[in-house]
Amino acid sequence: MALDLIGVEPSADERASLCAGKTAEQMARGFMALPRFRTTERRFWIRRLGADPTAMMAEHIIDADRLFLAAADGTIGYDTLVAKLLAHPIFTINRPVAAADDTSPTIQLIFRTVLGRAASGAELADYANLLRPWKRRFEDRYDLGYGYFVYPAVLDPRACQDPLLGKAACTSVLLGVPTSMVPAVSPAVPPGYSQTNSALFYYETVAGNVPAALETELEKPGRLLMARDEAWDTAADFALARMLGWWRSSANEPETVLPEVQHALAQWFRAHPNHDLRDLYVTIMTSLLYTTSAEYDGDERPPWTTGPTKLLEPEQLLDSVARALDLDLGFCDPHSDEPVGRNFYWPARLREPSTVDGSAYYDYAQQLGGCIGAIKAPRSPGLPALLAHIDLSRSLCTNARAAASFHDTADNLFARFLSRTPADDERTSLDAAASACATDPACVDAAGYARQLCGALVRSSSFLYY
């Protein structure tokens, strides 16, 4: 639960204060009250939307953080989150550079994210009307610290004034109640640039402070989609997938085909006051699907009769190792994989101050496939990742501390890495290893034993899968 909600193994204090004697709901709400829940949620949504700083001005990407954090705080519900995201450049101009003005990739991203499916040809054309006012420009903002031209979002005040179609040019008729999105804006241009178009309304001039009337108009597409049952099914779906680890199925046939569960959860969430995402998570995390142990003896059972098993994400892995060894490895910016100091598309001023010198965290995470925003696929446990695990265990486990005895050392490291004590069969192996330590030049004593056990834990499937 801690890994899912705060992205790291719980500390001893957290185990004592948030877990011991608590119900599943109390635990979940306790973890969600921690600051790390906000940053974990933010990272999740950044990856889900996959905005690329090389195709969208970084200001727009970081501006969307306030929406993710508002949802994490419960300030806005899921429906409002979707409406605001679909009224924001993070969605409306989110497409590869190569797509230029073709909004098809943007619409497909919106449909996949909000409705959980691809848009049909007719829907593409229909929803394109709602995006018609949005344009992506390609202009310099060197004074803001960028190294290249960037892609700011604009609204074209003339977009819905087609002499023949009129308002119909900005109207959707296929997705529910006919909906027109006709933002009443006057040109507004950031001063001091030579390439700006004085006929356009630049979103950056109001980002974070969009006038209420304009925001209401811009949110119409999101409100339209959220009126569809499938949008709520998708909300249930992504939360189920995230918390239950449906990755266990083949990619071709996601294991989310639990129609009764999915639909009941969706219906409940839709009817739930405020549509607070945290309540959705609590409902899943207190369910038998989530709380049943994944570990059991005996024959195979249908997947949904066992609890979830998931692969640690690179950041979860690094943060957990750092916490287990009382190290500060730093962190990486979830928005961009651009190295610190390069300042091409992600200016230094938008970064959170680093807590450590160097780029060890970023370097390790890159080897594992992490620290990537949403641009690349997550790692899989292949050979390159294993080499990184070995490298990681070799360099970081020098910090593993020995306790008063081999036994205590094992208990301490098991608690820190796995949040449990060794099982009987593991205890047998630990005792055998402790006996062999003196004759192993790489072990020798309790300190060496701590290093070896730490390395084994970091590389083990017990740690990598949770």
Binding site: W247, V257, E260, T306, P381, D425, A433, Q452, G455, Y465
Partner: protein
Amino acid sequence: MVTMRRRDFLRTTAASAAFAIVGLSRKSGRADSPSRARRVLIINAGGGLRTTAAFNASTQQRLNPWGILGTAGVLRLGSVLRLSESSVTYSASSWASGGSVPNIQQAAASFALIAGADHSPDGSARAGDHNDDTPRMGTGYFGKSDAPGLLTLINRHLGSAAPAPVATIGGGDFGTAPPAWVSDRPIGLSYNQLPSNPPMGGSALVGQPLEDALDARSLAVHKNLAHDAVQSLVNTKATLRKFGPVLADKRLRFDSDTYLTQSLDGITNEMILEAVGNASTAPRDGGARDVALAIRLLQLGSPAVSVSIGGFDTHDHEVEKAPALYTRFARFVAGVHYALGRIPDPAGGMLLDHTLVVTTSEFGRSGVDGGFNAGDGTDHGGNPGWRYQAHVAFGAGVVPKKLHPTDDNNVPVDRPASTHCLLATIAAAVGVPSDAIDAEWPTGTSLYPEGGPLWDLWA
């Protein structure tokens, strides 16, 4: 209350057992063909190589502004392939025969050419960008999330028995490994990122037994697909332990002059570097060093290696970039031909006798009036110069011939070869079972209209 899914229903019924038995025993309609090669080397040009100016040179300026170098065997070579001779070396002084390494014109006389290949021979529109065509080149598909890369497939079937790992060097999607293939993902290597010591993890007496115990418990308590995932990780660890000593072998080290004298069967690291055109006296060329690493891996017993040379996405300044870029690539190809032809194969003959070498790229580049766009480069997407690629093939008994020829506009005269056919041919040539190949690239589809591999290469 949850609904039991069809798959799980099948899993738990007697009917499913019968179905599974039928499914498992189903074989391809075609019998396995004898292997043509013991190993394969793919030399990939990352970014989009303009084959109309290189190995299938057009006389049209819009497709080939540098002109024709000449004909070599069945290949018509573009001048750009030797336009920057100062960026490579030819000396072969450390080889017993001395002298120099033959240039691309001399080497190409024994090459075959698949002149017009298409990722989507159904004529469908393609986005023509790297993120869709790189997977098409590596896996045969775009947007098929369970499609393995060619080398992943080869690794599954040939990797476990090999003395050296199947490897990808540089970019490309030949090592793509969806969830069901993670344990078959080939290792990704780079000439300057090899371990100095075998990456074995913990110590043999303490660290490894502890890790094994942790994994054993994890395996024991997980079932179903979770068990499979853990098992694949455990398998991969075993692979790493197996190949750790190979990866730390100094004969794979081309990152320092310290290892120039490292030798296997009389072939030193320096000889391989000379073969690929980057003699130790020349400035270090990372691409050449990666190619050298690939050659040595093959010599050590790897069944398949892909090496990707980047930089071909020349949307601008191609005028300046292309001469060195293409000259180096051609030199690498000629160098591979030279080296493999002189390195003994442990099973007899020379490596070239049993090694299939194929060049690839995700696409060609669009023709444009005058030869270049406004930025002195070329783009991709839109016309035959981009869509139809030429693939060079040689070694392993491949007969010098041209298949699927194109006209001077780069349009296939008859029909293009399909990428699926090319990938299936490579897999079949090295001995991947035909039913496994058919499972990934079934014949008779719009993406693979041919009836089977391109055995004409050997006919």
